[in-house]
Structure formats: structure tokens, C-alpha cells
Symmetry: C3
């Protein structure tokens, strides 16, 4: 049976891979980038959230920068997308699924790292949310889209749900496994339902003038 | 009479509130964001400048991230804008006034924090300017506008004036109160005059070719 | 004969100047910014890569922020571009040449700083690349262009070549001078050939659907 720490690293590497493929596929789909641009955007998407997390925690240089496994997995994800991108005609569905996977896993691991470093529950939940949406936000800014965190049907919400569940399970002394997986699965499901049914949190009522 | 430190925190929280409402109103006005997007943009606008300041100072984790009051005030500002945004038909004027208020207060508090941490006057003034324009720059990048600091009639200039006055008052040994308020008020007035009369610093002369 | 350290600082200041003029010229060319916007964009371009490098290395506050020479050179570059910008009708060529110069110099100095701080070769090479492309990426995001690092004919590639050569020369125990200059010159030549002949790394093959 894997130790808690090994499980955490595995989830984190899985999120890194999902985001790297996702970011690189976005590069293939949005603009005719060359292989360097594709791998670069994949790595930024995969590593960006963790870098922001580690800056906020003052864990510098970022753990995912010093640990060669993260760099290798992020680069690998970019290369996979480069190869697959030539085959797949429609990338929208895998892009969304991988994004939801990265979002779920990073929300959990970001929150746990915050708690480990002694943050309060509120701060740890925010940190989990930032870790989850950070890489995708960087990706969207780089390809000049309004970041998904601002407008997309339930993007920050499922991340914050997963972060909140993780903090609650931790406060309740529940074992890291399988409860972190439950938290990630809830986030994953809510996110995909949000995309599928175009769900949104409440919006301001119609304004007459929107000049 | 409040101590200097209490006064500084009060000014800082006031700037945080002003920028949070401003950023959230920008979200309401620019794009039809839902409540999560609105509050998120408000919090990024409110906390972004201070985060950049604290990264540059190596005061990590950022003070405004650990201190629950800043998080609460930033979230509150976003909620206020969400509610008000449904009522107000024209948001341009309050957006500008709140932006000028945040700019003025953060220019002062950013400079003072730099001096407290032992920076030279030049560095402290730049830090004050960065604190003041950082959150709004993040806001503008997120909603895909050219940041106000680059093009807007007198945006960085009043911030640097307030920062310079603050450093000068500090060097002269003047009491923090009321002189920081004077510095902020000058910045506030110059900024609003700049908006009102569309003032600019000198521009390069007309070029024939602008390919 | 200058010491290695003096040589390194000289190369770094030269790169700062090149990027400051480049960023400020971009501001003149892209948008009718006033002098404050021009100098600001120049300073962000010049100092951004080094700031990101120093955040990743945990060398905070950033060395280039504390050292007045960098601030002065960056501001000077912005002012030079403001003055020249009124004279030059076509800025595309000097913009590209200065960008290539900054890219080359920062790739070398960023890699060397990473090695000095004890990073492994892979991390030092990535750090050199990030230092080289960081300021230009910030510049492109600020003026709402897709960052050159993602799409431009050989932008990250020459930076990584220079970084790799620097790490190899260092591992081989070769003297810092003249070998860092060789590494920078190779990067400079590859970048300008890339621009001249619109060279790209391999791209994904044509996809039928690019919705």
C-alpha cells in the first residue's frame, strides 16, 4: 500500500500530465504553433499553478522546478499532444476532460500542501483553488482568451468544493486515501456537468445600459 | 488617537475595498460574468498589487494572504459590486473614482512598507508605484485590455507623485499622520483631473509611418 | 582584464539596455503611448526576465531591483527609445536586433546564475531560457500580442541553445570569457536567421477541422 506522501506525489504528477496535454492541445487548436510553442504552453499550463502556489507559500525554488520528474512529465505531455494533435480532428472534448482532471487533482494537492505548511483552513482552500486554476489562467492569458476562471460555467466553484472537502476531511482526521480521491472526483464531476449543461453561478440581472 | 501602524493598516484596508469594488464592477461592465467571476476579479484587483509588493520584498507568504481581514474585505467588495452592479446603469464614474482611491492609498502604503523593510528611497518609490498599479494591471490583462498604466491619462504619474511625497515626508521626519493622507489626496486629485481632462504625459511626435 | 564577475555584470547590463530600448520601441510602434507608458514598458521588458529568474531562485528582493545600475540602465533605454522613436520611420529591424541581443545575453547570464546557485544543468538551462524570454513575454502580454516565445520563428530555441552551450562550457571547465560570448553569439545569429528566413521548428500536420 502506498504511503500518503507517495499517493500525493502520484496525484500531483497525474494532474501535471493532464494539464500539460491540455495546454499543448489548446496550443494546437488555437494557433498554428510549432513544436516548441506547443511544448512551452503545455509546460506553462502544467507547472504554472504549482509555481504560483510555491511562491505564495515561500517554498522557493518551486518544488516542481527542482524535481526533475515534474519537468519530464510536463514535457512528455506536450509531446503527446503534439503527436496526437495531428490525428484528432476534434479536440474540444479531451481538452475539457483533461482540464477537469488537472483542476481536481491540483485543488486537492494544493490544499494539502497549504495545510502541511501550517496555513489556516481558509488560506489553504484559497491556495488549493489558486493551484488548480493558476496554470489554466496563465494558458488563457498567453493565447489571449478571457481566463476560464472568470467566465466559464463552474470552473472555480468545483475547485473550491474539492479544496473545501479536502480541508474538512483533514480537520476530521480522515485518512488521506481514499478521501482525497473522493474530493477530486466530486470536483471532476461538477466541472464536467458544468461544461455539459453550461451551468453558471448566479449572474447580475440584466442592465439596460452596458456601454 | 490611532497609532501609526493602525492608521497604515486602515488605509491599506480602505485601498483593498476600493480596488475590490472597482475590479468587480469592471467585471460586471466588461463581460457578463457570474458571481464567482465577479468576486474573483475583484479579489485579484484588490490583492494583486500587495502580492507583487510582498514577492519583491521577500515578505512571503504575502501579509495580505495570511491576514484574514484583507481576504474578507476583498471578498466583501466583490459582493458589494455584484449587488450594486444590478442597480447602477452607468458604472464608469464610480469605477474611476474607486480606482483613483485604491491607487492613492496603495502608493502610500507600498512606499512606507518598502522604507520599513530597508529599501532605498528610489526602490521604495518604485515599490509604491508597483503596489498601486499592480492590481489594476492584473485586472486589465485578465479582461484583455491594454493596462491603464501604459496608456491612461496620468495613471502611473500620480502614483509616483504620492510615493515620492511619502518618501520625502519620511526622510524629513514628518509624522506619518496627517502627511500620508496629504500624499494620497494629491495622487487622488491628479488622477481624477487626468481622467476628467484626458491629460497625458508627453507623447512622441507624429510619425508618418506606423505600419 | 576584467574579472569573470565584472564581465557577467557587463553582459547583463547590456542585455538590460537592449531589452529596455526594444520594449520601449514596441510601445512607440504598437500604440500611441505617452512617455510614462513607453518607459514603463521598456523597464518591464528589461527587468521582467531577471525578476522571474530571481523569484524562481529565491534571490529576493531581485538583485536587479536592489542594484540601482539596472534601474538606471532600464530607464535610460526607455528614454533613448522615446527620443529615437520620433526619428525612425521603420522600427521593425532595430526592434528585432535588440530583442535578439537581449535574448542572447540573458540566456547566458541566467544560466550562469542558476549554476552558481547550485541548480542542476537541466534546471539551469530552463532558468536561462526563462530569463531570456520572460521580459519579452511580459511585454507581449501587456500590448496584447501572442508572446513571441509561443509562435515566433525560432525564439525559445536559440535561447535554449545558448543556455545549453553555457552549461556545457561550464561543465567542461572552460574559462567564462570568451566562451559565454561565443554562446551568446550563436544564439544571436540563430535568432536573426530565424527572423530573416521565417524559420520554424516542426509544426503539426494540417488538420481538416480547426473549429
Amino acid at each position: 500500500m502506498p504511503s500518503a506522501s507517495t499517493a500525493l506525489v502520484s496525484l500531483d504528477l497525474l494532474g501535471t500530465l493532464a494539464f500539460a496535454i491540455n495546454g499543448a492541445m489548446t496550443a494546437v487548436r488555437t494557433a498554428r504553433l510549432d513544436i516548441v510553442g506547443i511544448v512551452t504552453l503545455g509546460m506553462m499550463t502544467a507547472l504554472g499553478g504549482g509555481f504560483i502556489r510555491d511562491i505564495l507559500l515561500d517554498d522557493l525554488p518551486p518544488a516542481t522546478f527542482l524535481d526533475g520528474r515534474y519537468l519530464a512529465v510536463a514535457a512528455l505531455g506536450g509531446l503527446i499532444a503534439f503527436v496526437l494533435g495531428q490525428r484528432l480532428e476534434k479536440l474540444a472534448t479531451p481538452i475539457n476532460v483533461l482540464d477537469a482532471a488537472g483542476l481536481s487533482l491540483f485543488a486537492v494537492t494544493g490544499t494539502l500542501k497549504g495545510l502541511e505548511w501550517g496555513l489556516g483552513a481558509t488560506q489553504a482552500i484559497i491556495l488549493g483553488g489558486v493551484t488548480a486554476v493558476g496554470g489554466g489562467t496563465l494558458r488563457d492569458v498567453m493565447v489571449r482568451q478571457v481566463p476560464a476562471v472568470l467566465h466559464s460555467g463552474l470552473y472555480a466553484v468545483p475547485a473550491l468544493i474539492a479544496a473545501g472537502l479536502t480541508a474538512a476531511f483533514d480537520a476530521g482526521g480522515l485518512p488521506l486515501l481514499p478521501w482525497t480521491v473522493v474530493a477530486a472526483a466530486v470536483c471532476f464531476a461538477v466541472r464536467l456537468l458544468g461544461v455539459r449543461y453550461d451551468l453558471h453561478a448566479p449572474r447580475p440581472r440584466d442592465m439596460k445600459s452596458r456601454d
